[in-house]
Symmetry: C2
Subunit: 354 residues, 2 copies
């Protein structure tokens, strides 16, 4: 039976796959819920979104997604608290960023109501899939891509907006070791680095594979001119603690304006931790590692939350970071996670009830 | 009936769409032939390619092509001469470049035989679709993309290689007006600009749209640091004639190593035209336009062949180029097209009989 929830049409799946899933041993993003949101852009406008059974996407071989990389996405997490209430974290910021990304890739922007109502409806329909276990959550993946046809290198005339969800465990298992990149780069000045564009990620895979072969988990991206500035870490923004000061690079057209990043800055400032948003030179981090003032490094992003770094490689040398009792990373991770999961007050007004 | 051609399995379509096509009025890349080549990468290896009816591609919503932009492509043209023989132009170079692109995006490289035998078989099966009309050809689009599933930002474990074909007319109608880019850029040092990666094209669309709104057809890309050097023109390499010298930028990790470009260089040198492969400064082109030594500019690429430029915009000023009787662009275009279509001798050994 089709019915309307929040004015959104819902077509329920005939059966559920939920009993096949081991909720105690969830990988990241590998199993998908019973439904998805689907919304099509045709004849110059977005049609009404629908919740439909999770199902294959059928595309002509000439669909521009295959040829010209018009695709953007977002990453969010939904949490369920002890009262079975469902929470999102700053979802309107994800909506806004999706449109910023779309605009840069010459893709049509979505109406806020289609995104927000569609998202809420989907989460209500697939509510049973939201894990409660600590460290687990429902990873929510809104994405838009070019479904319109043609080999001419120009924007497509049709698009699909989909939200799919995956109950997920941790993104990284434990602390990570990173490699400061000296050769490759992820984004250009005047390029698309600030957008969550699919192509930005494909470009990172090969250099990341090379780093993994050398024993690292992740590349730390530097500027593409001289590789002198520390910019970002894969799907995370990066924070560096020198003595008691927490430093992160300013956002720019090369760096994603991470929602976790700006929340961490606010939490740290609220706690009285001195925060500097400024260019971070590779050489100052190396110096700080040598003279002992480098106390912590961590990545921050929705998927990996706050991901502490155990050490870094640079110019064939490895530098390790100290194990601090009272470290910022643990404090900030607990604080943001408690807000996200409704275990603590939310003085910032970030939590969003579904 | 299935049968083998060149050891490739062929599954013929039940009906043909060829009678729906107006071969006298072909757009670029808008109608597709009856068949396509399909080849799947699974369990760590490429399975045997097959020619199958042109048909939709069915993908899970979590297929990595939608999320992380793992897609690369090639563009080639097939021509039919007066004896109904079919010709390609330097196809092994396209094969090699496809693998160079794949490697940079952490995608599996193809065996040469799968590409070449698959391509030939497809063209034999769809031979009737190759236009004979001057200026028309069968545009051939090999592409590879990530079909494997997962929201983890890492390379997919499954891929599809497809070749689809579109009988096509001219890419641009007439001479083009270009805008020298001062803000946006298409590629980073250490990035993926030298690869025919889908994401590189999506990133160009928005700045190109802005240029089109200002009355230009195409952006001329400059370096991402100071926008001082002229690098490339959308889906074409760029050539500039100052006095009698033909100049083109050297290829690099930011610039695609165009097959048309290197063929044009060889034809020009063979003709005794002085050619310089070197960095081209924006200011020298502007100076040359002012003092009259700038004689010609043109783009070179498979889709657009040799595409003469009538003028360029820079810093809100327009500069127009002279109309020369004996211009290089016309000579080079006729020379390369005659070789491609078997209307002239091919001293270079570029033509490839299917
Ligand atoms: C390149 C990049 N940087 C940073 C982030 C972190 O952003 P957020 O905290 O909004 O998830 C992400 C992941 O979303 C990312 O893909
Ligand atoms: C970015 C770019 N530059 C240059 C070219 C020209 O290359 P080719 O002559 O091999 O077609 C193309 C098109 O293929 C291209 O996409």
């Amino acid at each position: 039976m089709n019915h309307l929830v929040n004015d959104i049409e819902v077509i329920k799946s005939k059966a559920t796959k939920i009993h096949d899933v081991d909720f105690d041993n969830l990988a990241f993003g590998k199993v998908y819920t019973d439904h998805m949101l689907e919304c099509n852009f045709k004849n110059g406008k977005w049609e009404e979104p629908k919740v439909v059974p999770y199902q294959p996407i059928i595309l002509d071989p000439s669909a521009k997604i295959f040829h010209y990389g018009q695709s953007v996405f977002e990453g969010m997490k939904a949490y369920k608290d002890n009262n079975d209430d469902v929470w999102l974290f700053r979802p309107v910021d994800n909506f806004k960023r999706l449109n910023i990304s779309s605009k840069r890739l010459a893709m049509p922007e979505l109406p806020e109501a289609y995104f927000m109502e569609g998202l809420k409806t989907l989460l209500q329909v697939d509510k049973d899939w939201i894990p409660k276990k600590e460290g687990s959550s429902l990873y929510v993946r809104p994405f838009v891509f070019a479904s319109g046809k043609g080999f001419h290198a120009s924007p497509a005339d049709e698009y699909k907006f989909i939200i799919a969800c995956a109950p997920s465990g941790a993104y990284f298992a434990g602390k990570i070791k990173v490699l400061i990149e000296e050769k490759y780069s992820r984004s250009a000045n005047g390029g698309v680095g600030y957008a969550k564009a699919g192509g930005n990620y494909a470009g990172q895979f090969y250099p990341t594979q090379l780093a993994i072969e050398k024993g690292y988990n992740q590349v730390i991206w530097t500027d593409d001119v001289n590789h002198e500035n520390i910019e970002e870490a894969g799907a995370m923004n990066i924070f560096i603690r020198i003595n008691d000061t927490l430093i992160t690079a300013p956002t720019s057209d090369r760096i994603l304006d991470g929602i976790t990043r700006k929340s961490i800055i606010a939490i740290a400032e609220d706690k009285g931790i001195p925060v500097e948003v400024r260019t971070i030179k590779v050489h100052e981090v190396v110096e700080a590692a040598k003279n002992g003032s480098l106390k912590e490094m961590f990545g921050a992003g929705t998927a990996a939350v706050v991901s502490p770094i155990s050490g870094f490689g640079y110019k064939d040398k490895d530098f390790s970071l100290p194990e601090l009792e009272n470290n910022y990373a643990s404090y900030l991770k607990k604080r943001i996670t408690d807000i996200q999961t409704n275990k603590a007050e939310d003085p910032f007004g970030w939590r969003y009830k579904v």
